[in-house]
């Protein structure tokens, strides 16, 4: 009986490790190649130990990204846009959500429902009219073209409203009796007490902005304004034989999101469970 159990465990771990290898081997290969000079990448193609240990390891691929290929600028652009969108959308969405959850005004349900309609239309479909509007507003090639459409969204409002509805209203009633205004209740009581949903939403916004591709690709032409994903894509398209730099650029682009995930894992899981799935 005991023997059988040990045997089962060995099989289970073997399967788990085997699946892990399909993920780790490609990642390791990319990582190792990002430290190799170009000519070495074409040399070590035999599947062996050598393939995964760089002999003439060098940081040049990474240094060149910043010295020649403007990655410092791309990263800075992305950070600025991400910061503005994350802070702005947090305030705008949660304030609207608080109003929809707690304040009574005529047409509340109707307005909320109309906003929710936008959830049914995917961004890929909206791309064309959004482009026309941005062009009409003369915002092409400007950061505001990336920021403005991202500042408010129905999902964020829906998400925060759900969190606020779960919040016991007794505390608010007590605060109202003490003469606390609605905005103070929102900013001093509700927001500080909904920490976990705020962190979850913040992570979703940050990753969404950092990974954003098709929209900046559509509205940015000037390479000085490029965000990181567009920058990688540009490097990949324009200098497709600079293998080492391409490997390094992919690693640099992925790394911040991997680090964020490793440190804040539990909020990622919460983000999944809160997206409306029930078993």
């Amino acid at each position: 009986m005991k023997k059988q159990r040990v045997f089962k465990k060995i099989i289970l771990y073997s399967i788990l490790v085997l699946i892990s290898l399909t993920i780790i081997v490609p990642l390791l290969w990319v990582l190792v190649n990002s430290f190799r000079p170009d000519e070495d990448i074409g040399r070590y193609t035999k599947f062996s130990i050598e393939m995964f240990f760089p002999k003439n390891a060098t940081m040049d691929n990474y240094i060149e990204l910043f010295k020649i290929y403007h990655f410092g600028r791309y990263i800075l652009n992305t950070l600025v846009i991400t910061a503005i969108v994350t802070a702005g959308s947090l305030i705008i969405n949660s304030l609207a959500a608080y109003s929809f959850a707690r304040l009574k005004f005529p047409g509340r349900k109707l307005i909320f429902t109309i906003l929710l309609i936008t959830l049914m239309v995917p961004g890929e479909v909206m791309l064309l009219p959004q482009f026309m509007i941005i062009r009409k507003l003369d915002l092409l090639d400007k950061f505001s073209a990336l920021v403005l459409p991202a500042l408010a969204n129905a999902f964020g409002i829906f998400f925060f409203r759900q969190a606020f509805l779960d919040f016991p209203s007794a505390i608010e009633e007590a605060a109202t009796i003490d003469g606390c205004g609605k905005f103070r209740i929102y900013s001093r009581i509700i927001m500080p007490l909904t920490k976990s949903p705020i962190i979850t939403m913040t992570i979703m916004t940050i990753t969404g902005q950092w990974d954003s591709f098709i929209w900046p690709l559509t509205v940015l032409r000037d390479s000085k304004k490029y965000t990181i994903q567009i920058g990688v894509n540009y490097l990949f398209g324009q200098h497709s034989n600079q293998w080492g730099n391409i490997f390094a650029s992919a690693i640099i682009t992925a790394l911040p999101m991997i680090i964020l995930f490793l440190f804040l894992q539990k909020y990622y899981v919460r983000g999944i469970t809160s997206s409306g799935v029930k078993g």
Binding site: I111, V125, F131, L148, K182, K278
Partner: protein, 293 residues
Amino acid sequence: MFIKRKTKEAILGYLFVLPAVILIGMFALYPIIRLVIMSFQEYNMLSGDDIGNFVGFKNYINAFHDNDFLNAFKNTLGFTLIVVPIQSLLAFLSALLVNKKIKGIGVFRTIYYLPVVMSFVVVSIFWKMIYDPMFGLANSILNYFGLESQKFLANPNQAMICVIIMCIWKSWGWYMLIFLSGLQGISKDVYEAAAIDGASKFEANSYITLPLLKRTILFVCIMTTMDSLKIYTPIHIMTSGGPLGKTDVIVYHIWQQAFRFNNMGYASALAVILFIIILLVTIFQLKLEKSDY
């Protein structure tokens, strides 16, 4: 005094939703209406015109005679029909695996989720390199097992399969976690009762787990279908729709029509068609959710 407080609350209510309503109205609601109007128009994009000429249903009629669009439509459908069952099944089976309470399981979950936190751009570039016929990892592995080198993305018969493998590699971890959270919602008592009644592990899974997870299964299948219908980035980076149009997909075709060939009106009609397809999937989902199937 009482009425005054009520009015004040209503004014504050409107004030708080105002910024969101203006922004969503401008960049999400108005564009929906605008898209439908644009789909009945013809634009001269190069002269910077903002208003097009009405051409009736011409764009829609053209769509059904446009062999490239029909090809992209067919490819997208094929992509979806392969990805949805395989990816969902992989996600479900791996969720069963990582639901086991054994040492180090958290590490495996973390590893499986890694591709999900990398952007589609990054993963597409990774795999474009992996598939490279000169120095790519894929051929190294094939050679190691004594198999011949392949051209992968350059081979019309292999390109779409290569994109599919890459997409599943990137996304299954996300659906695994969704299944996992569904599995953890099932009470242990049910399994214990089944074990007492003499049910085997396999029986327990097929008669307890599957029926109790049907909502999660439906959710995963619908989400995967939607994602597949909207696939864009890997095609843009890995194949540009080639070779021989074998990997051209709907959104890629729309983007090319709109921003490379400046056929904004025609591209809008194609976008409306895509939207209708996605809407039908949504309605199907809502219907299934309401009925207790």
